[in-house]
Symmetry: C3
Subunit: 269 residues, 3 copies
Amino acid sequence: MDSVSGIVTLTTDFGTADGYAGAVKGVILSIAPDSRVVDLSHDVPAGDVAAGAWCLRVAAPTFPSGTVHLAVVDPGVGGGRRPVIVSRGGHLFVGPDNGLLSLARGEVDAAWTIEPDRVRVRDRVAPTFHGRDVFAPAAARLASGAAAQDFAVRMQVSALESLPLDLGWSEEGGVAVGRVVHVDRFGNLVTSLPADLLVRSCAAGGSADGRPVLAAVACYEAIPDGGVAFIEGSQGLVEISLRDGSAAKSLGLGVGAEVKIITSPGGGQ
Amino acid sequence: MDSVSGIVTLTTDFGTADGYAGAVKGVILSIAPDSRVVDLSHDVPAGDVAAGAWCLRVAAPTFPSGTVHLAVVDPGVGGGRRPVIVSRGGHLFVGPDNGLLSLARGEVDAAWTIEPDRVRVRDRVAPTFHGRDVFAPAAARLASGAAAQDFAVRMQVSALESLPLDLGWSEEGGVAVGRVVHVDRFGNLVTSLPADLLVRSCAAGGSADGRPVLAAVACYEAIPDGGVAFIEGSQGLVEISLRDGSAAKSLGLGVGAEVKIITSPGGGQ
Amino acid sequence: MDSVSGIVTLTTDFGTADGYAGAVKGVILSIAPDSRVVDLSHDVPAGDVAAGAWCLRVAAPTFPSGTVHLAVVDPGVGGGRRPVIVSRGGHLFVGPDNGLLSLARGEVDAAWTIEPDRVRVRDRVAPTFHGRDVFAPAAARLASGAAAQDFAVRMQVSALESLPLDLGWSEEGGVAVGRVVHVDRFGNLVTSLPADLLVRSCAAGGSADGRPVLAAVACYEAIPDGGVAFIEGSQGLVEISLRDGSAAKSLGLGVGAEVKIITSPGGGQ
């Protein structure tokens, strides 16, 4: 990391009403008064590490190089999981090593284990709030230009925990098969199938857990009333959407559902 | 627009958990590192253009002249609706031309249609996420001082879409008649009736869809237990409120309900 | 207050969708363009003064000295309650004098009653929105370095309203007795019992409204499946938690529940 942007983003499952997210911001601004704290989300479902990892995957890459991303969805706080710093894709990620940082984009260049006693600003690290007592001071110092090794120890990149996000898919006999990997607020079903399948194949429709999905459309407005259709999503993946409603609710499907797209004439027959 | 404030406000229906709002922020801060991104709301109900327009109406006017307001409630994304920039009341509004920008205050001075290929920073504009790929780059460049014509084409102001917010009302025989135009988080019913009706007339009470509403009170605390009353709202309009509770729920009413205020002794009899 | 940090934090029950929180931000940035506005929360439950006060208690102390904390949970807006500025613990708090500011940490050094007509920037103060019309201008001017006495009148500190947060507890016969004072988003029950009870006593377990609570654990992961246990919370207080779930829901308890910890062998027998 040659230089820092001075931006610290926050991704947590704290909500805001209890003051925990605010406490994190105060720590950062006390240590790094010139940093800019930017909320990505405090509404990650409580304890849902995979949802937090997805949020980081979607949002982090658009930030300037040298941004510090503080992420805390940390049901194992105070236990055996490591507090870490991960350098990847020109960004620094700070959080628990429970997979939360593993879906972000870019190659992992280096990783460090934070030593809480070298970074804390309180007398004692609360075993239930490393967001405030460990991760926020670490992120603030990085955003101020400190080196990770000032308060953290280099670790093997291969030792980092990762989540089982499966963006795999296969194609055989004119049918591409993947899975739903995320459901968003609008009820769009994000799949593991690459969006360019839709472009190259003029996909003729398909199915999700056996229920019919209409051929790819160019925009939500083109989806016929009452039907769900394939569409090019914003993450470079095929999504299944409903016009003015939730495809997830309409189909009764969620993460893990099998998705098939007919990619050649006569495919799947 | 002589000069810009460097502030970019955000009003969306994205929620925050999926990372979409965060992605928009990152794009803005990458293009305009010195801008200040300010959340108005990411909690506009999904697809509710009118609710987003109301949020902008309430919040935008308090910002400094030269502020850029990025607004995305955009069920027609990728379809035929235009991506636009609207200059009104000393502010710049960037978003889809679906009525979302039409309730903001101030006269419209000028409008432009954004040309996505002249403003995008990604290889390809995703048909489902113009917030990130079209509107954010446009807003960031405006906040940096670029001119709209650098990436947008002047259009007729009269061609802009508008929402049917009806702030009309009438008065006859000592009774003023209007409608509920918004229900807020607290359950206050905001009406189309101007608040100065309450001041000039010592309003004697009235009704909402036939249910009695008590005479105007000076503050929530003055509302008798169990009753709803007229009160001077913060938008210059009469509101109907309950003490420590939701008038909307108590009356079972929402947007569109007819509201009558007796403005002269003997009115309505 | 020798110098200001230029930071203005916001704690409200406005939500964001109606534009009220945004309007407050715009007023602040119009008056104090160089200030930094930081959201603590807009999700305090509507009208819940105690919840807002708790949020401030948790978040405010981590901010730099000289920070201005604007807080508005104000069911009595427009009525008899005073609009005030409170200087405590090196921070300035601006809001209604209804107890909202009374749980923040640090000694109260001074208090002032704001005179709305000396601080307002609109022609008329709306009786329903002092957040925008009174508190925001006051906070912005303080953040710009203005003195409270420029638009407020010194008042007796002893005249400030306070909330009945009872952090009292007692110990007798080897049993410490306190109460639940807050329930957070995760369902953790925060008690009035000081966390060092757990350290010094190797607490042997106890109860909450008569239901058994397991002996103190070092982290959430150490809580046996299906049980609730005492744990050192982040506020210096004992909390009662469940692993991967809500202790509040599991026990069916909330604020006010009596909590007992056996602090000596044989205690409570």
